[in-house]
Symmetry: C2
């Protein structure tokens, strides 16, 4: 029998990539990436208001181009033996659709309306709605539907976003028949049937972000939703009851897409999932290993057998959902709303003189000025890391809080803000940068502590994502602060690889996802070990971080009152 | 009778200037400035350890050159009618001297020893010694000699610095017969008699910095000093009992200096004083007006009639001394240990990419790179101010603490550090800069509040110094935060002008300093008025600043324990 191949599609924040993987060895047979053109131009976004929207055309064009390009250089044998495609996307990234499941932005009159587009995970326009969900969940007298989502609903999630758009855009409200997550829409589209009422919905999206749970017989009750806002009345019936893990087949490739891509209609399409979750799969997550996707933000996942988690509700995380990561295991999700974004923010602050002063020097040519901006910006974080790594940890007087984008876990609170203390006239940019890196590491440690205090042990750490791969400086500090070794997954594309693993189960090549991980996993490229001396110093600084955090949290409350 | 002229000499941190003033009109007849060459080269300093020393040769060369240059272009009539010279300097800036009053650094074997030089006001090497002085003052059972200095002795002051050097440098210890302040040494030098035992010592230096008071019959008792350290035993006898206000004559110009400068030996030399104090005089301080010298740090002075202050001890300021500013009035001094220095610090932080990245671009010429560094640095604060002034105050989420160089007033505490809170991913450099400026304004408001809560009213604010003259952006925020109008003195050289005013009294041209102020004062160039709307918003932000400050203070204590 010929070797079978699967395609993993990974929709990230800025780009989508396709990866063709040998299901026996995990070898990559082809790959391609596509940057969303409208997104790259900053369209439909308003960072000052934290509005981030993506046009469905960015996704559609990327889907076709990446798969076709990835297939371009493979042999006929490989192409013939592609047996399944699975998809992961960011989330919660919902969109309003019509009765046929067409995103409204693809329809006449809505092409340029941001509310008719996908509402990207990091969009925070629905802060007020999230607050209402939290208030009503605790006070309405019925079930607290946030209980499997850590007890705090976020503005980044499904219902808050839907409610915000329904309230603020009458045209979209009238035209929206239902709502779908990005990770549900793409698989449905590939099969040619996007009917929102029968569309196979992702367990991880629904369970972690839409307050779906078997104990609730699905989504929250209509009573609750109407209490939240009568605008939500009846919507539940046009959404879904059941959800599906990533090993479930949605259907076969439609004739239209088979032709478009040059594949057969026998190619299976798997149920979608979130990028971080399939990234954890691709990064060979195993029970009680915390799998950290470390990029602009972090997504931290842990799996444990249902019988061991039992009725234990882990308070303050982003959810615990049966099968959301690995079918058969409870998936627990946590995360930091800003991680690498904090380094990028500081780099941006430091770009001030380059962008505002040097750019006005008329004795430099435009070409020189552009090159200065570009090369300075490109080298900033690397240079800061280099200089910061020379600062002895004993010398650190600066302690920062990593809440520049609010706090996701534990106990989500978007109102929290970042802070820096311990500054002297000798606190230079590398010292401040180091404190910011330490702050993000302390934020990671708080998450570890929460899992442990809630009765979920952590046996090891697996790191994925851009920061994990590219910044030994950051990774060593995280290892020192956590006082645990950290393994870094070898694959450059763990999300797409995880999707390809899931697809191999969907196609029946492997019996389950664990088997696929064993066959297709690419192992670890590096392990960071904590330094005992630095770890000891960080224990003290961590206490300072926590005291500072308590103050800032009390302060944030006093401002709201 | 021909119009008389006086010369005011003003020794600042970086330079010394001489100003020749018409005693009838206040008109400037000549002026000259001299930058200390050794200081400019960074010699004898170690900023990382807060060690700042100045070589007596910097002062000597500057004295001769500035007076000669200022006299160069004046008419023979003006030169002939110079009747007195008075001097102000930074302080507390003491130096170890031999039996003849020669600073040790002028003697063979000590030329390059920083401990044999003047210990500049901002040197903080004596933090431990200041702590001991405070501890023993409170616990030894006798008089609390800090009581007229706000109850907290600072590492920036006379005894702490002397003790630190005596403890750490055996050679200087053995060679030091006595110690003199910079403002005492220069007038003595001009008269040709520097005998430390008979030298006329400045009331403001002694009263504010050396725990001198009439109630103590002079300096602290030998018992106290020996309790502090037996190394201090007997030193008091080689220092002084009496002190002198700025209207007192020290002597006449010595033949040697008269010849050097081309002046007569009939020129009177006045008792010296600190720059800020004579600056307040030059800036036309009047009772219950807070005169703020706003530069790298601030020095805030207020005068009030002795009969009104009475026995009221103002707690937490830098001292209250009869006649220290205006003879006949109690001079009260307070200050912020960093003001403009905080803006300069942030500008330095922002220079990181320019200095560390752009400077490595080999496709730019060395000349281009140097020019980029220089012009960027020159324009930074101006550009930050320009952009920050566009940020509406209502939008401010950031609150900072202005303690990057510790806190001088109220309740001096060098261990405190700066901080910034309320940061988001949208907090750009101008927004942070604005918060830093607001923090320095809040630091000013805390001082006002302390005077008022201690029973000393404030009728108005007079601003002097570089920030007051050059930064309308900062001054408007200070006016808004203080919710008081601020008058800015017109003279570009209020300290030197104040010295010239004092000299006119020393020479008998005017009856007292107030009369000299009336005749020679140059008035005010500008008045900032608070905006009621912004003032209201700042009331709320100020409360936040104070809560943040309480937390940081508690935190600083917990670190020391």
């Amino acid at each position: 029998m010929e070797t079978k191949y699967t395609i993993g599609i990974d929709y990230g924040t800025d780009s989508v990539r396709a990866l063709i993987v040998n299901t026996q060895t995990g070898e990559e047979a082809g790959t391609s990436v596509f940057y969303y053109p409208r997104w790259k131009d900053g369209k439909y976004c308003d960072p000052a208001r934290n509005q981030f929207r993506q046009h469905p055309l960015d996704y559609l064009e990327g889907l076709e181009k990446t798969i076709k390009n990835a297939l371009k250089d493979v042999s006929g044998e490989v192409r013939r033996n592609v047996v399944a495609i699975s998809v992961d996307t960011t989330g919660s990234t919902p969109v309003a659709v019509d009765k046929e499941g067409v995103p409204l932005a693809l329809k006449t009159g809505f092409e340029e309306n941001p509310n008719a587009m996908f509402i990207l995970w990091k969009d925070h326009t629905a802060i007020m709605e999230a607050e209402e969900i939290n208030r009503i969940s605790r006070s309405w007298g019925g079930e607290d539907y946030t209980k499997y989502e850590g007890g705090v609903y976020s503005s980044e999630w499904f219902w808050a976003k839907i409610l915000h758009v329904l309230r603020t855009d009458e045209e979209v409200r009238n035209a929206a028949f239902s709502w779908v997550e990005h990770c549900d829409w793409i698989p449905a589209l590939l099969t040619g049937d996007t009917n929102p009422e029968s569309m196979k919905r992702s367990r991880c999206a629904a369970g972690h972000k839409a307050m779906w749970h078997d104990d609730f017989a699905g989504l929250p009750s209509d009573d609750f939703l109407v209490k939240l806002d009568p605008l939500l009345s009846g919507l539940k019936e046009r959404l879904f009851r059941d959800t599906h893990t990533c090993d479930i087949k949605v259907g076969d490739l439609s004739p239209e897409w088979a032709e478009k891509l040059g594949l057969s209609t026998e190619v299976a399409v798997g149920a979608g999932a979130f990028d971080a979750h399939l990234g954890a799969v691709g990064g060979e997550i195993e029970p009680y290993y915390l799998s950290k996707v470390m990029g602009t933000s972090t997504c931290d996942m842990l799996i444990a057998p249902q019988e061991e988690v039992g009725d234990n509700l882990v308070s303050g995380i982003c959810g615990q959902v049966d099968g959301s990561i690995l079918p058969g295991m409870v998936g627990l999700e946590a995360g930091q709303s800003a991680f690498g974004d904090i380094y990028a923010w500081f780099a941006d602050v430091l770009m001030f003189p380059v962008q505002e002063i040097i750019s006005t020097f008329n004795w430099l040519s435009d070409e020189q000025k552009e090159r200065i901006v570009k090369e300075t910006s490109d080298r900033m974080i690397e240079k800061l890391s280099e200089e910061a790594s020379k600062v002895p940890v004993e010398e650190s007087t600066i302690v920062a809080l990593d809440w520049m984008n609010g706090r996701r876990t534990p106990d989500a609170n978007q109102e929290l803000k970042g802070a820096i203390m311990g500054l002297t006239l000798g606190s230079d940019a590398p010292r401040i940068f180091r404190a910011l890196v330490e702050a993000t590491a302390f934020g990671s440690k708080v998450i570890n502590d929460r899992f442990i205090s809630e009765g979920v042990r952590i046996d090891g750490i697996i790191a994925l994502g851009g920061v994990a791969k590219k910044s030994p400086f950051v990774m060593q500090i995280v290892a020192d602060v956590l006082n645990m070794p950290i393994k870094v997954a070898r694959s450059e594309q763990t999300c797409a690889l995880g999707s390809a693993m899931a697809a191999s189960v969907v196609a029946g090549v492997h019996q389950d996802v664990s088997a696929a991980q064993k066959a297709m996993g690419s192992g670890f490229e590096k392990e960071y070990h904590p330094d005992p001396d630095r770890a000891r110093i960080y224990v003290r600084l961590y206490e300072k971080y926590k005291r500072f955090g308590s103050f800032a949290e009390t302060e944030a409350k006093s401002v709201r009152q």
